[in-house]
Symmetry: C2
Subunit: 261 residues, 2 copies
């Protein structure tokens, strides 16, 4: 059957959702977007996303693709975002819609992802960041955190920084390409980029860095944590609501099929 | 009577409030903070703020002072913020509390203020900025806006950029020290600093710059608008919810008494 494929870039405030994926209990973002797609296309296409996000995690640049029979492909690609947004709630907004190559796959062809994590470090919270930053009241030491963050880029076994899950078989080795921290007043922004991520890996990294910022672990400890391959050796998991899937990277030309988390 | 004076730095999400000031109808932020002060001090001190903000406008660095009889001044200055926050709703957070000089006045001694205004320029809104950015769907031209913004710093009669009000007598001349625009993806941040501001002046400036960004006026038109001293010659007023009172500046030593808007 002749079909046409489209790529969507989706932003959402994860507060009200049980994460990206269809849920047995609660509401997934994917379900909402598929509901809107079914309003536009009688074939009710499934969405294939670059990533999952956890309950409460936000996204600015989630990428997903879908495919429709050519006979249904009447709406110009760039109008699809507008049409979907008309059916979607305000906390989910399709930022862009474009035609994709026949063999494009949002997940398999993603060459990397960028996450951002926001921490507000003051006794009092910033009321404008209530839903999107972790409120940490204990004083953070930026120098210590930056020293520790240097240990993350590169290829490592991240078993000590991931939560156990039953849907993620295979290796726990991943390559991070960036892990840095910027500061503007009491606001810390952690930027983490990598080719792939394990379940709750970003939150494990940020939680550990924050505890290093408290003085709970020495900055040099990250290497030992990585080497031990045991979740209990690393620090806490940072809460979901400070995390944003910022963007997903794709190489051109599309790389060979490769499984990504 | 012997008294002690304190300076507060207050952040709030203005969404739920009819602005800073006590309102005949609706709720003011000042009222809320004074309510919390009355829990700590039997004399129920009045708050004197650096500025007013309009309905829906936010603040990160609103400054206000209050004075209590020495006999009531038992709480260490830096603990006052914590104690007030215990009584305040989550959308108002006292960020800092310090002892102030006897003659300190949050309004009369303010040497300047910085406002930020956020615009999200894409067909679809960023759901994480729903409450704090103006959603402008028409394409903006940054170069045009930047060229136009250059006309604002300096001393001008800003009558064309202010809304009429009955509580603001006197001159409409003000000195702006900064008016610039930064861009990160679809997010535009307008930073406006000045010694004093007229009613709705920032929103008039941003609304006009955005309309210049559309092509509604040529960038050179700002000079003419300023010269005409007539609100109808300038552009629209940007909506309240994109505006944040970022900080208030004080000189040391305190300057002589000077009336500020």
């Amino acid at each position: 059957m002749n079909t046409r494929k489209y790529k969507l870039t989706i932003a959402y405030d994860g507060t009200a959702y049980q994460g990206w994926q269809l849920q047995k209990v609660g509401l997934g973002v994917q379900e909402k977007v598929e509901g809107a797609l079914a309003r536009l296309y009688p074939s009710a296409p499934r969405l294939h996303s670059s990533s999952r996000t956890d309950t409460g995690v936000h996204a600015l640049g989630m990428v997903a693709h879908f495919e429709v029979p050519l006979a249904e492909a009447k709406l110009p690609a760039r109008r699809i975002a507008l049409a979907l947004n008309a059916w979607l709630p305000d906390d989910i907004r399709v930022q862009a819609s474009v035609k994709a190559a026949k063999d494009f796959h949002a997940r398999f062809h993603a060459s990397g992802k960028q996450y951002r994590y926001y921490v507000w470090n003051l006794h009092a919270m910033n009321p404008l960041l209530e839903k999107t930053a972790w409120h940490v009241t204990r004083k953070l030491d930026l120098k210590r955190m930056r020293a520790a963050a240097k240990a993350f880029p590169g290829e490592h076994d991240f078993q000590s920084f991931t939560a156990k899950t039953d849907y993620e078989p295979g290796t726990t080795t991943r390559r991070l390409t960036r892990c840095d921290i910027s500061k503007s007043g009491p606001l810390y922004t952690f930027t983490i980029e990598g080719e792939g991520f394990l379940y709750r890996m970003c939150r494990g990294i940020v939680g550990t860095l924050v505890q290093i910022g408290f003085g709970r672990f020495p900055p040099g400890e990250v290497k030992t944590m990585l080497a031990k391959k045991d979740r209990r050796t690393a620090g806490m998991s940072a809460p979901a609501h400070g995390l944003v899937l910022q963007k997903v990277f794709y190489k051109r030309p599309l790389p060979v099929r490769r499984l990504k988390s």
